[in-house]
């Protein structure tokens, strides 16, 4: 177990270094990153000062050591537009994103898991096909468009829900649906196929032979085992939600890290984007690591494989 944790931890660190290195070299790919980091109205004196401050007059290797040194102290540069440390900007927005992600995940599970079970139980008939159609449609609809469609129907036409910004519980409904929707289809397909697989297995036959009621067989014996592949992919889903939040938060003017990413792109705020990407990488890798270790602890088959 200890070996597994150390191995996964090392893997995460290597991956993080890879991400940081790529970000560093991409910034230097198109000439002097100072041009990416300074506002357009900067004077030549500003430019020189920044080159000195960042050590950009040194060799690429020296620059890289300075970058790594600063990064290890939690300094990833200052946002051009917001005139504050990029790391600070990220952490001040992070709680707003974390406020919708669990709900979106919950929604995807509450909709996707029962749909998958129902589809599996009705394999091949109308209900199964209807559920399949929902899944196919869910994958084909771009989530930014779904968000706008929801705003049009529920805010503009019906006037039931606010169209954006943070606020009371009613502000959460549309962003959570938009963010959760693209996972529903994935959950459904996964649960359906693993349900069908489990339903054929020996222990389910045994449960039936024992004379257990059908609902106990389905919901206790089948579903519990069918959920294992869903839960092992939990880390990947959270990663998807963190990137999915970029589009959702943009559509709903939600002040989280997704919207911050979008702002960094449209205002060409390179230091901010660089910091956001590295911090998101840490977040995603951390969650994946945590989930994997948790599962290795719960299910010995994973750590022995």
């Amino acid at each position: 177990m200890k070996r597994y944790i150390v191995y996964r931890l090392l893997q995460g660190v290597v991956l993080l270094c890879l991400v940081a290195t790529i970000v560093f070299f991409l910034g230097r790919l198109t000439g002097n990153p100072v041009d990416l980091m300074l506002p357009e109205d900067a004077t030549p004196a500003d430019r020189m000062a920044m080159i000195k401050a960042l050590g950009l007059d040194g060799s690429l290797f020296q620059q890289f050591t300075i970058f790594v040194g600063n990064a290890s102290h939690g300094d990833l540069g200052n946002s051009i537009r917001m005139r504050q440390p990029a790391v600070e900007a990220f952490f001040s927005r992070l709680p707003n994103t974390l406020a919708i992600i669990p709900w979106a995940l919950l929604l995807a599970m509450c909709a996707g898991i029962p749909l998958g079970v129902i589809a599996a139980l009705n394999r091949g008939n109308m209900i199964d096909r209807a559920a399949g159609t929902v899944a196919v449609l869910g994958i084909a609809m771009p989530s930014f468009w779904l968000g706008i469609l929801l705003i049009y129907v529920f805010s503009v036409e019906l006037g039931w829900l606010p169209s954006g910004r943070m606020g009371g519980p009613e502000h959460y409904v549309l962003p959570v649906i938009t963010l959760g929707a693209f996972l529903v289809a994935g959950f459904m397909r996964l649960v359906r196929s693993s349900m069908l697989e489990v339903m054929e297995s020996e222990f389910v036959k045994l449960a039936r032979i024992k004379g257990l009621s059908e609902s106990v067989v389905i919901w206790k014996h089948c579903l519990r085992n069918a959920l294992i592949p869903v839960l092992t992919l939990w880390g990947v889903f959270v990663g998807n939600l963190i990137t999915g939040a970029i589009v959702t938060e943009t559509v709903f003017a939600w002040p989280g890290v997704g919207r911050l990413t979008y702002e960094a792109v449209i205002f060409r705020d390179f230091p901010l984007l660089q910091a956001v990407i590295i911090l998101k990488a840490i977040l995603i890798l951390g969650i994946n690591l945590f989930v994997d270790i948790l599962y290795a602890y719960v299910d010995p088959r994973i750590r022995l494989a």
Partner: protein, 308 residues
């Protein structure tokens, strides 16, 4: 099919049966017959979109870029205040929606073609090399694939747009990054089993070089799988392109792209819903069609891929 007979490990009658019975439902989505019907409606939609892209200058009634401010925000013809001269209405700059939609198909399909060639090609190459050589080469390449799966490529795509500037090249590179890993993983799996077959051993005995074996013996046998992967990923690419355009990291304006059109109409959803909603319908329809078509093609060419 021009694939050598050795490509099909099972007799033809058996390949029609789903390899994994539990997943057979995907195959049965539109109908219940074991042999799926040819999906004519999706094929027609794809054909219409492709001809829109190919013959845009002949089909579009107006220029997609020229602004006629006098005619701004005219609704589609079936809505009150709409006119037949602008069938799908106009946007905030008085540009004809239909013309922009027709030209927008061009961007989506060109990006899809280029990104699938580049990203799919790299994935194919890596998959074959990793699968054929195995050992340390395989180990390193597959760790790279794992890394690509963990870390969302969309973030790199945004970074590329900011550092390299927006444009077709950046966009294709960014989307290729999104694709290669899944191609590499599936192709590698195929190659691992192909490598065990007699014709590869025979080629080795005959003294063929590794490069020659990969090129003339392995490659033709994974082409079916490759084609299926390409079709199944068209939808992924179209959505990625539209999302990046929507986020301001795609092809820069004034070139009409569907993602940008949705984004343009976002602020005016209350007064002019058609500017945002119509391009979104086009995206959904095209992605839906290529996905249904891809599922069908997979069942015809390579049913073992059904777990994808």
């Amino acid at each position: 099919m021009s694939i050598p007979a050795s490509a099909s490990p099972k007799p033809a009658s058996e390949t029609l049966r789903p390899a994994i019975p539990a997943l057979a439902w995907i195959a049965r989505l539109p109908g219940r017959s074991r042999r799926r019907r040819v999906p004519w409606i999706p094929i027609c939609i794809i054909a219409i979109m492709v001809s829109m892209a190919l013959f845009a200058p002949f089909l579009a009634p107006y220029s997609p870029i020229d602004q006629t401010l006098r005619d701004k925000l005219i609704p589609p013809f079936w809505v009150d205040g709409g006119s037949v001269s602008y069938i799908l209405g106009t946007d905030a700059f008085g540009r004809d929606m239909l013309s922009r939609l027709i030209y927008g198909a061009r961007v989506s399909l060109i990006v899809a073609a280029l990104a699938l060639t580049a990203g799919g090609g790299i994935g194919l190459l890596i998959g074959i090399v990793a699968g054929y050589f195995g050992g340390a080469v395989d180990n390193v390449l597959m760790r790279l694939v794992d890394a690509a799966f963990t870390f969302p490529a969309i973030l790199f795509a945004l970074l590329l747009a900011v550092t390299m500037g927006q444009g077709l090249g950046t966009l294709v590179l960014a989307i290729s990054l999104l694709l290669w890993a899944s191609f590499a993983r599936v192709i590698r799996g195929e190659v691992l089993s192909l490598k065990q077959r007699d014709f590869v051993a025979l080629a080795k005995v005959r003294g063929c070089s590794s490069a020659r074996i990969m090129l003339t013996h392995i490659l033709p046998n994974v082409l079916n799988t490759f084609m299926v992967l390409v079709t199944l990923n068209i939808g992924v690419v179209i959505i990625a392109e539209a999302s990046l355009s929507f986020l301001g990291a795609g092809i820069p304006p004034p070139t009409p792209t569907w993602g940008l059109m949705v984004s343009d109409g976002r602020g005016r959803i209350a007064e002019a819903w058609w500017v945002s909603l119509i391009p979104g319908i086009a995206i959904t329809l095209l992605v839906l069609s290529v996905n249904v078509f891809g599922d069908w093609l997979r069942d015809r060419l390579d049913p073992r891929l059904r777990q994808l």
